[in-house]
Structure formats: structure tokens, C-alpha cells
């Protein structure tokens, strides 16, 4: 697994991109393209996760003590509902992962979702900085490739 970075880091070779030939540059660019698309995918799934947590949090705002005893429709399947009454507006069950559910009060639940949203946001920012650095390197690589190509064409024209 290779790492590519703009700044010097331990256990990493420094490579002058100008020293590489076109084939090597193409391979290098392909590698960058691949990791960039991985980052795009993970960014997308993180954003979906962020939205879900945010939605759940917003949902809790409507869960006030006044809603106690109100009529609700409980979904049995995606297309079938049965009428019911809301009898517990103090606690909710939350999926905390790996099959565990925890009963929490509304305020605890809100804390939980806030924590999750900030965690996911952190991850998004982290990935974004890495992705930006990589796309910068990609642009530089493309620039060098273009100058190399132009030089090649010039040489060919001179020879002709």
C-alpha cells in the first residue's frame, strides 16, 4: 500500500516528478485517480450517515411531553400500518451499533446524535484535506505530463 504526500514524511521516498518518464507518470496519475475515487465514495457514505443522524436528532425535537397519548400509525410493513397511541415520550431505544440498543432519555438521545454528527463531520473534514492534497498532486502530475508531451512533439517536429 503506497502513500503519496506533498510534504516530507518518515519512511517515504522523495521523487522528483520531472525525473519520471511519461509511462511512469501515467501510472502515478492512475494511482492518484484510484485513491481519489475511493475518497469520493467514502465522503458520500459519510455524508449519508451524517444526514441520518441529523434527521434522527430533528425527529426527537417533535417528541415532546405534549405528544403523550396522541394517536400514531405504527408501520408493520412498508405498506401496512396499525393505529396506536403514544404512551412513552420520555425514552427512546437507540441502535448504538453491532446489534446493541440502548434505552435513553430524549436529552441523552440528543446528546448521542450530536456526538455522532460531530464525529462524522470530523471524519469528513479529515478526508477532505487528504483528498485536496492528492488532487493537487494530480494537477501537478498532469502539468508535467503535458509539458513532456509538448517537448516530445517539438523534438519530433525538429527531426522531421
Amino acid at each position: 500500500m503506497s502513500e503519496i504526500s506533498l510534504t516530507e514524511q518518515p519512511n517515504m521516498f522523495q521523487i522528483d516528478l520531472n525525473q519520471l518518464d511519461l509511462q511512469q507518470l501515467t501510472m502515478f496519475k492512475q494511482q492518484l485517480d484510484q485513491s481519489l475515487s475511493v475518497f469520493q465514495d467514502s465522503l458520500q457514505s459519510l455524508k449519508i450517515a451524517q444526514n441520518k443522524f441529523q434527521e434522527s436528532n430533528d425527529c426527537l425535537d417533535k417528541f415532546t411531553p405534549d405528544t403523550k397519548g396522541k394517536d400514531i400509525l405504527v408501520p408493520l410493513t412498508g405498506s401496512m400500518y396499525v393505529p396506536g397511541k403514544l404512551i412513552n415520550t420520555e425514552n427512546v431505544l437507540i441502535d448504538i451499533g453491532t446489534g446493541y440498543f440502548a434505552e435513553k432519555t430524549i436529552s441523552e438521545a440528543k446528546e448521542y446524535f450530536k456526538r455522532r454528527v460531530s464525529y462524522v463531520t470530523e471524519q469528513i473534514e479529515h478526508i477532505q484535506t487528504i483528498a485536496q492534497e492528492k488532487s493537487k498532486i494530480r494537477e501537478i502530475t498532469i502539468d508535467i505530463m503535458e509539458t513532456k508531451l509538448q517537448n516530445l512533439q517539438k523534438d519530433a517536429a525538429q527531426r522531421a
Binding site: 448504538i96 451499533g97 453491532t98 446493541y100 440498543f101 440502548a102 441523552e108 448521542y112
Partner: protein, 126 residues
């Protein structure tokens, strides 16, 4: 002579491909384990934040079963330990497969050279 070398080259290539396949499998497994460890650590953190009064349920099939907080914590801790040992095992496997890949690569180059030599020799003798 040439057939012999070619056979050697082919079997070596097959071996190399097999090792490469195993290597990719091991790397994929390492990634899955990494995300599982991450998820379990998140659950562990959440369990640590809970008050003793909070009820815990475990999803088993389609039903939720009530569980003691201590029991749940123990379970998650055990799982994290298990995943850590699995990660170590997979990483050892990856390094050994990496080494194997290198030796196969070297052998391939050697066989390739002797194959080419044999080929040019037979061309000359013809």
C-alpha cells in the same frame, strides 16, 4: 529442454498467481477487520457513557433481548480482543504472503531468462 523450462515457468506462474490472489484476499480481510474494530470501539465508548440505569438490548435475529450493562460491556471487550488478535494474525499472513510473492517473482525472472536462453540456443542449432 525447451518444453521442460516452459513447464517450470508455467507452474511457477500459476503458483505466483495463487499467492497474489491469497494476498489480495488477506488485504481485503484486514480492511474488514479494521472497520469492525472501529465499530466495536464506538459501541464500547457508548456503553461506557451509559448510566447503570439505562437498559441495554441486544438484537438477536428479529427480536431484542434485554441484557445487563456489565454483560454487554464484557461481550464487546471480548469481541475487541478477538478482532485485535485476528488483525495480528492477518497482518502476519500478509507479510508472509508478501515474502512469498517476492520469491516467486525472483524465480519467475530466473525461469524466464533460462527459457529465453533455451529458446535462442534451439534457434541457433536449427
Amino acid at each position: 529442454m525447451i518444453e521442460e523450462v516452459r513447464k517450470k515457468l508455467e507452474t511457477e506462474l500459476d503458483k505466483f498467481k495463487q499467492v497474489q490472489k491469497d494476498y489480495h484476499k488477506a488485504v481485503a480481510r484486514r480492511q474488514i477487520l479494521g472497520s469492525q474494530l472501529n465499530e466495536n470501539n464506538v459501541v464500547k465508548e457508548e456503553l461506557d457513557l451509559l448510566n447503570p440505569g439505562n437498559e441495554i438490548y441486544k438484537l438477536i435475529g428479529p427480536i431484542l433481548i434485554k441484557q445487563e450493562l456489565i454483560e454487554a460491556k464484557e461481550n464487546v471487550n471480548k469481541r475487541v480482543e478477538f478482532i485485535l488478535s485476528e488483525i495480528k494474525r492477518t497482518e502476519d499472513l500478509i507479510t508472509s504472503l508478501d515474502k512469498k510473492q517476492e520469491t516467486h517473482k525472483e524465480n519467475l525472472v530466473k525461469f524466464q531468462q533460462s527459457f529465453e536462453q533455451a529458446q535462442s540456443k534451439s534457434m541457433k542449432s536449427n
